[in-house]
């Protein structure tokens, strides 16, 4: 009797697990919505994202990127008359977001 009920419980678990697999498979996956690169970024843990972002910073600074922010004209703090420094190399600051893994 006990063995039978155990078997029944196990069978139930299996049915539930398969049903859940089918259900979760039908849920929207990140790739369908945002593409592979963003999906990959979403799947990283917060600590991994932090580290990837650190790497990006190292590259940016190694390439001579400046920490001086670009003016944000939509910010309520924006002051069009405020003096701002220009990069010594004369080019605009790099603002690229690496989308793979970022």
């Amino acid at each position: 009797m006990e063995a039978k009920s155990k078997e029944f419980v196990e069978k139930g678990k299996e049915v539930y697990s398969q049903a859940w697999k089918r259900y979760s498979f039908s849920m929207i996956q990140p790739e369908e919505l945002v593409g592979g690169e963003w999906a990959e970024w979403y799947r990283l843990t917060p600590a991994q994202r932090w580290l990837e972002s650190e790497k990006l910073w190292q590259t940016y600074l190694a390439l001579g990127g400046s920490l001086n922010p670009e003016p944000d004209m939509q910010s309520p703090f924006f002051d069009a008359r405020a003096p701002r420094s220009r990069p010594a190399h004369g080019r605009t600051g790099v603002r690229v977001l690496r989308r793979s893994r970022v």
Partner: protein, 225 residues
């Protein structure tokens, strides 16, 4: 509370400044002054570095002159539109240990989302990414608080529809709070997209209105310099 927090939670922002939400009291400001002195940070623009401006909702801006953080912007705020008081933010914070052992306290995700509801274009795709990332991370076994949070803050029509299918009773309960959920419930994508846009526009307008007196005050301070 800015770019670094967004990266942690799953959006991606290459922010060159650092934004801090702080408790505006005398003792804390004294600690902040000490930290800013270490960074050789200079006050830029207006308003002056004083408690009363922080308490009114202004941001205080600094630029670092320390060689290791040369020209980095540091912005400090204490009060933000639609965001709880600092004591509550602190209770809900996320603490992160970064390589090297340092600890960082970040705004909780729901608080960060509120703080991002501004008049700026760039903040809205950020909100969408933040909530999407949270949804995908927790969709298998969500808590009821997470489900509520998604119903209140998701900006992705497809996910709102999916959520409404999965949790119809909760969806119905939250209809009054967020009427556009009715379109999610009936899977009307075009109407839902339109309603999300209307919601965003209204929120951005509220932010603009909130800033009118503060901007006026900033203008006065600029002219008085």
């Amino acid at each position: 509370m800015g770019g670094q927090a967004c990266v942690f939670y799953g959006a991606a922002e290459f922010s060159r400044g650092t934004d801090f939400a702080i408790l505006a009291d005398a003792a804390n400001l004294a600690r902040l002054r000490k930290a800013l002195a270490e960074l050789q940070a200079e006050l830029i623009a207006v308003p002056p570095f004083a408690i009363r401006y922080l308490r009114r909702g202004h941001a205080i801006h600094f630029r670092c002159q320390h060689p290791e953080a040369l020209r980095m912007r540091v912005d400090v705020m204490s009060r933000m539109r639609g965001v709880d008081v600092f004591a509550k933010l602190w209770q809900r914070r996320t603490t992160l240990q970064i390589p090297g052992g340092e600890k960082c306290d970040l705004l909780s995700l729901p608080d960060l989302v509120q703080a991002k509801k501004t008049q700026r274009d760039k903040d809205w795709p950020m909100i969408r990414r933040l909530v999407e990332a949270h949804y995908f991370e927790n969709q298998r076994k969500p808590t009821s608080a997470q489900i509520r949070f998604w119903f209140q803050e998701l900006r992705t029509p497809e996910l709102l529809v999916e959520l409404a299918v999965r949790y119809p009773a909760i969806c119905r309960r939250l209809l009054e709070q967020r009427p556009l959920l009715a379109h999610a419930e009936s899977a009307k994508m075009t109407e839902l997209e339109q309603a999300l846009l209307v919601e965003e526009t209204a929120e951005r307008q509220r932010d603009k209105e909130y800033w009118v007196p503060l901007r006026r005050e900033l203008e006065k301070l600029r002219h008085g310099r």
